[in-house]
């Protein structure tokens, strides 16, 4: 079964020079348990695609399915419910809730999705190396630590699909590699499908399937 299906998704934005066609009929499937990488130049529409897949943004045309559920047919509440239950999102920053401690942040999404498992969270925290930071607040963490907590929070909820937009973009190479390793290991461990947006061909190479976005269309990565 596919965790994510995009069928001929199009999206354009108004701009001073007229409408900019960012996505022109993009189709993509991400089967359960697989890891896909998405690369492309800056401004090519990677984030837009990811936002549409998460239901944060609406496509102009085409269909989006999360598992069996049609995201494009759902209203705002329906999209939110799908996100809550099935999708884990990781952005480059602003992932954590500033008013909650690391521990509360880690458990937050799992509790929202009613899949809280204290033992699993402890296990994740240890794997991610944030077990010592549990009582801290997000702004008391380094960028790498924050991202590791964000990954932990996302996986603790056992989502069927993880969408990550340059999760290691703000980190140095070595840290970024370590964080990404963990993420790949852990998604494999939980059986989640992963769609990872990245600039780095080196990181993309570590995913099973690679897509490249150019001129609003997907092509097999070189």
């Amino acid at each position: 079964m596919n965790a994510l299906t995009l069928v001929s998704v199009s999206k354009s934005f108004p701009s001073a020079e007229g409408r900019v066609e960012v996505l022109r009929g993009v189709s993509l499937t991400v089967p359960q348990g697989s890891a896909h990488a998405l690369t492309g130049e800056s401004g090519s529409g990677k984030s837009t695609l990811l936002h549409i897949a998460a239901g944060l943004e609406l496509a102009d045309a085409g269909r989006v399915l999360i598992g069996e559920s049609d995201l494009t047919a759902a209203d705002e509440a329906g999209r939110a419910a799908l996100r809550r239950g099935q999708v884990g999102l990781i952005f480059q920053q602003f992932n954590l809730i500033p008013s909650l401690t690391v521990a509360a942040n880690l458990g937050f999404q799992a509790r929202l999705a009613a899949r809280h498992d204290a033992g699993f969270i402890t296990h994740l925290a240890e794997r991610l190396g944030v077990a010592d930071l549990m009582t801290r607040y997000p702004e008391q963490l380094s960028g790498g630590q924050q991202q590791r907590v964000a990954i932990g929070r996302c996986l603790a909820a056992r989502p069927a699909l993880v969408l990550a937009d340059e999760p290691t973009g703000a980190l140095d190479e070595a840290t970024g590699d370590r964080v990404l390793d963990l993420m790949l290991d852990l998604t494999a461990e939980t059986g989640a499908a992963l769609l990872l947006v990245t600039h780095s061909p080196r990181l993309a190479a570590r995913c099973g399937t690679r897509h490249h976005l150019r001129a609003g269309q997907l092509e097999q990565a070189p």
Binding site: L56, A80, A104
Partner: protein
Amino acid sequence: MIRATLSALLSHWVRNKLQLAMLLAGLALATALWSGVQALNTEARSAYATAEALLSEGETARLEHRSGQVSLSDFLTLRQAGWLVSPILEGRLTLGEARVTLIGIEPLTAPPGAGPALAAEDLSRFFAGHGFAHPQTLREIGPHTPDLQSSEAVPVGTVLVDIGTAQRLLETDQLSALTLGQTQPEGLRPLETLTPDLRLIPPGEGAELAGLTDSFHLNLTAFGLLAFAVGLFIVHSAVGLAFEQRRAMFRTLRALGLPLRHLTACLAAELLVFALVAGTIGLVLGYALATLLMPDVALTLRGLYGAPVPGALAFNPLWALAGLAMALGGTALAGAQALWRLWRLPLLAPAQPRAWAHASARGLRLQTGLAAALALLAMFLALRGTGLVAGFTLLAAVLLAAALTVPLVLTVLLRLAERAARGPLTEWFWADSRQNLPRLSLALMALMLALAANIGVGTMVASFRATFIDWLDLRLVAEVNVMPRSAEEASALRAFLTPRTEGILPMQRVDAQLASQPAQIYAMKDHATFRDNWPLIDPVPGVWDRLAAGEGVLVNEQLYRRAGLLAGDMLDIPQAGSLPVLGAYPDYGNPLAQAVLALPLFNEVWPETPIRQFAVRTDNATELIAALQDDFGLSPAQITDQAQAKEISLAIFERTFLITRALNVLTLSVAALALFAALVTLAGMRLAQLAPLWALGLTPRQLAGLELTRALVLGALTMLLALPVGLMLAQVLLAVINVQAFGWRLPMQIFPDDWARLGLWAALAILAAASLPALRLWRHGPAQLLRVFAAER
């Protein structure tokens, strides 16, 4: 460089227009309320001055008789002996639709100052029977006043006529007083031998309006100051938040090489411009506000003190300058902390929400310390303070101390709620509320102040009202009151009434000084009406028998408290000698001191005092009134029945607090605006805090609902805090301020219905304040929230 800096700084306001509007509105409102109140005070005081100038009470000595009436023969005696005296006759009467004070003077002999606006051409009209009145009085009297001329120099509510006309209108041949010219011929026979009964009142005395109304104006000023403070809360929080939001910009500007001094100067200049703009708007608003409230204030002052205050307002440039200065000073005060923080800001201070919270943790400790110090001061003042100023200082200390503890108490409460919370969302809700408290706390403090002031003043007024109504029922037991116009009519009335009624209680009084206060001494007939009904404070045993035997006096509560009398103390009564105080009686709504003597003793000391009124006890008031009109031929204006008397007293009471209520509502509105300002500003900063929740699967609608709930919960907690503070305030008002200002102490009564109503209003105000940001979040949430993640695009 300066230009570039300024344009960078100002660009913030261009992008945050609503926030700018709030900042300006806060300052403008603060200025408006303060300067509005000041305009009212200035106008009222200048009205007193007009009144005093007209009556020449300020500079001219007067001759008066204790009875309040001077006979024509005394006047003639003095004139023949060569004294330069001029007659005055004052009285109340109904003209057209209005009750007015009629003042009769003799223009030729009147000292300069009396009838100052009467030019030569007016004089001829004056003698022809024309009267003069303020344009507003003319309007109040209505169209049927052919022989009245308009003149601004006459105080409102007064009609100035020739003495002969006055005697004719008031149906008397007596005079009220004689004014004494400032320079008198040499070698005259002394006044004491010519007219031994007349009392010389030196210039300056008798001008009591300013003194009497002081407490009222102090009250207004206190309210104005409170409103100003609440307004400054808005400015302070708006400025603070704007600085906070621009922290990254400051950092960039400094990183680009802009000296800190320049940056600070630019920001100070920005504040100065805001202060000038908002101050000017505030002045206009304040003037409009004062114009709106002036009629109420005038009614209050006339009702309470009989002070002739016009219902219209004149513009005074000095007032405008003072108001602008206040706006500038307030802005400096409100912006000082922000500028100071900027000055001390390390170049790389993190612009993180929690860092802000940490910085305010220190502020919280400081605030708590300050609150403790103020509470101590309040305690000291409550135990030791005397005087009106100490009373108001106590009030301010209590209010400020309470306001300063608001953030601390809320933090503790929210922490407790967080502990008790089950479920991720509620946990987050409380944690997040606590996190954002520092940004909201100023607005919440303002709300607390406004609510406490509302509860306090409301409780005071309602307690007063309840006491007053009970008291009226006891005091106004006479079924009918009749006012004779002359001594002959009085004796005829007595003869007419005696067979028809259960009891006739004559009302006689003389003016005097008691315990060096302006006072009135009344005669009281020994009658069951008084024995059964009059409430007494600390009476001696057998008080009524001793009073009837002429063994002492009763005093009103005002005199009792102001002079610090105790039952049994001796009180000097002019001409009657020293008599023991037998007890005190409540006497609300009367600014003067009073003493009551037994009727026989009174008549012995002041024989021939005219009877002003008969209070009549009867079983059948309707029949008696009919008989008085039809058989005796009394005019309806001379008769008041009990219901009328109560109505009049209650109307006066209601007027007294009209202005207080208006200011109460205004203060609450300003507080709601403060909350609105804070929430709107906060809404922008909160996007980054809410965006992750949205990504995690909460709808914008849910988020908006939570935001609204948060505002309501914080408001409800604040209301809860305001309750005890308001009651404390009411206690201070009832037991300290009222005693100092009016001379009576009232028991506090509790009116939970009023609280419920206030709570409802506050909830509505909070909802109104919170709904715009919430609505925006709901409607435009996705676009706005996406922008947070798009920042990394």
